[in-house]
Amino acid sequence: SRRKIREALELANQKLSEVFPLLFEGGRAELYFTDSDDPLQAGLDLKVKLPGKPVRHLSMLSGGEKALCALAVLFAFYLVKPGPFCILDEVDAPLDEANTLRFNELLKRLKEHSQVILVTHNPRVMEIADALFGVTMEEKGVSKVVSVKLT
């Protein structure tokens, strides 16, 4: 129903205004309807403002900035309606050192609501995990798993 979708957008934007500055110091982002005035037909677009930078459209963002924006939106959705678990496959690959630490802060907040399972190559991200699962192929073509509880 139209009312529900409008409300969902409202809530998502509220949470986004909380989360976005965590990832981009001083930045702002907003989700809005495009293509049509009817919430049941409209598409969903994102407007982003980064301090000192022109972002006329999303393709002007860098690889790392795009990943962070997507994570901020995902997380805002999560805060509106937390799912029981969140599963991420190497979403931190494009991030530099400083943004990896901000991503870690996001994960810590996420874990308050949901169980987080993620694949990563980044030692900085492994540091904040509660458990590590090492996947190996000692025998060619055969995967095995070794689990290490950390906390």
Partner: protein, 166 residues
């Protein structure tokens, strides 16, 4: 609801039964390129009812069965998801402390879903997860290489996520 354990047997690169006991909080899956990390993510998507072969990175269902050169070739693929039940599920499951969802695929091509070791239909799995927010296509599961693509998708595709919220 939370995941207590994921068990994989005969699925993709896992000919031996492996079990991953996920704690509450954050679990990190690590390992060299090609070792089987994303195959674990595929196993999770599959047991939650994923129907698209493309999303599972295969061309035919047969590619989900272990196919390495290794001697033992299991007769079927099975993924089991052991869940701790803390409400949000339909009436008939309320009293159970644990719920086990499983999916099997036989070399013959037949596949079946199971809840607590009793066969069921895909509809029953959807019904079970209806109010829990669990959805293999939802905003809670991001594939390798997808995170940058979210912004490159069309506004219509992105709308799908908002509908989930409503």
């Amino acid at each position: 609801m939370r995941i207590k354990r994921l068990e994989i047997y005969g699925f993709k690169s896992f000919p031996y039964r492996v079990s991953l006991p996920f704690p509450p909080g954050i679990s990190a899956i690590v390992g060299p390129n090609g070792s089987g990390k994303s195959n674990i993510m595929d196993a999770l998507r599959w047991v939650l009812g994923e129907q698209s072969l493309k999303r599972l990175r295969v061309r035919s269902a047969e590619d989900l069965l272990f196919a390495g050169d290794h001697g033992r070739s299991p007769g079927f693929a099975e993924v089991r998801l052991v869940l701790e039940n803390d409400g949000g599920v339909p009436e008939e499951f309320r009293e159970l402390p644990e719920i086990v969802v499983a999916r099997r695929l036989y070399r013959s091509g037949e596949s079946e879903y199971l809840i607590n070791n009793r066969t069921c239909r895909l509809k029953d799995i959807h019904y079970l997860f209806l109010d829990t927010g669990v959805n293999p296509r939802g905003y809670g599961l991001i594939d390798q290489g997808e995170v940058g693509k979210f912004l490159e998708r069309s506004p219509q595709e992105r709308r799908f996520f908002l509908e989930e919220l409503a």
